[in-house]
């Protein structure tokens, strides 16, 4: 269980991680797991995994899993009020440092938008960003399978690509249909 003085150490840890999380916080998962579960035992392994699953199932940025980690730690340490403080604390500890850094960067980039340095950065990174996106889709498509149902998940992902590029079906409707297909047990 986490005690009051530990919170400041935790927030400081998240704050430092924030400045090293290029491409979002999902790459930090191994380190956060080591810190919270293995080293300090502030939450259980199951709570840790559940927090990530819920954050991925829920709309909004994935960093909200940090709020869930804080929520679980606070709940164990003393009820719903502490859980809420833990959730907000963990989220802010991550959001504030990187956001201040990015605010300064964004202004600098904006001021130098026609400099050769900024233009080459944007032009150079563009093809990489496109490839990253397609790669995440490919990795995610097979991530939830259990070996037997992989081809069904791939098929659904492939059909989604066709629907988006060829039709005007809203993306939320596609997600809803996917959820219903899964709830009916097609992937079981």
């Amino acid at each position: 269980m986490i005690h009051i003085p530990d919170w400041s150490a935790l927030f400081l840890h998240f704050g430092i991680l924030s400045l090293f999380s290029v491409g979002g916080p999902m790459g930090l998962i191994p380190d956060i797991h080591r810190y919270l579960v293995t080293e300090h035992g502030w939450i259980s392994n199951a709570q840790f995994t559940d927090s990530i699953v819920i954050a991925q199932a829920s709309p909004g940025p994935n960093i909200l899993f940090l709020a869930l980690l804080g929520w679980n730690m606070g709940l164990q340490a003393g009820g719903y009020f502490l859980a809420l403080l833990g959730a907000l604390g963990c989220l802010f500890a991550y959001v504030v440092p990187s956001s201040i850094l990015f605010y300064i960067t964004a202004n600098w980039v904006e001021k130098n938008r026609s400099s050769r340095l900024v233009k080459s950065f944007k032009a150079g990174m563009s093809p990489i960003v496109v490839a990253l996106l397609i790669s995440s889709g490919i990795v995610l498509a097979g991530a939830n399978g259990n070996g037997h149902n992989d081809f069904k998940l791939w098929l659904l992902a492939g059909l989604t690509v066709l629907m988006v590029l060829r039709t005007k079906v809203p993306m939320l409707l596609l997600l809803l249909i996917g959820g219903c297909i899964g709830a009916l047990g097609v992937f079981a």
């Binding site: 491409g23 199932a57 990015f102 605010y103 233009k119 596609l174 992937f187």
Partner: protein
């Protein structure tokens, strides 16, 4: 291309807040999919090419890319207020929703229908990510690197991440500087299409 008509700008910080809140609350899976739809297709604040470039900056700096994008668009038009409006828009509603969900999950999380629904939605969001990636290939046609170099960079990035499963940071550190240096030399040699 669709971006021949002039683009719009956000009307006020509250316009930023509500636009980003609206995209965030429906963004299941890859949030960039919904960010692209809102910023480029619905609000027309950026052309597809500008979106890709801004996203490249947002993605290569620390922090969640979509938070960074909201800070960038917000501060461009309304300074600190705009950045805060965009950022809180991204975070507020989904935070409230997820805290309600975690309470519900304690009771229903093991239900096989929930597990199945999550798998189905996961596969659809994978498809959404791929299709957004495909849509963003188009602006690369005017990239000063040229189609061949773009294709080589893109394919090697794809191979390293999706096939060889290298961590994102490693790939960015290896391929990023190389791509930027190549682009830097393209700009010196004064190839066409270097404006904008």
């Amino acid at each position: 291309m669709m971006n021949e008509q002039p683009l719009n700008t956000p009307k006020s910080p509250s316009d930023l807040f509500f636009s980003f809140a609206g995209l965030s609350i429906k963004a299941f899976g890859g949030i960039i999919v919904f960010a692209e739809q809102m910023v480029v297709e619905k609000k027309r604040w950026l052309s597809r090419k500008e979106f890709l470039e801004d996203w490249a900056v947002a993605q290569t700096m620390p922090g969640a890319p979509v938070m960074n994008l909201s800070i960038m668009i917000g501060s461009r038009h309304f300074g600190v207020m705009g950045a805060l409006a965009g950022l809180t828009g991204i975070l507020l509603l989904p935070l409230i929703l997820i805290l309600l969900l975690v309470c519900a999950f304690a009771y229903f999380g093991e239900d096989p229908r929930i597990v199945g629904a999550l798998q189905g939605m996961g596969a659809v969001s994978a498809g959404l990510l791929i299709s957004t990636g495909v849509k963003l290939i188009k602006p690369l046609k005017v990239n000063p690197l040229g189609k061949t170099i773009c294709a080589i960079l893109g394919l090697s990035c794809f191979g390293l991440i999706a096939l060889a499963h290298y961590p994102l940071a490693t790939v960015l550190i290896c391929l990023g500087p190389l791509a930027c240096i190549l682009a830097y030399f393209k700009f010196t040699s004064g190839s066409p299409g270097e404006s904008a």
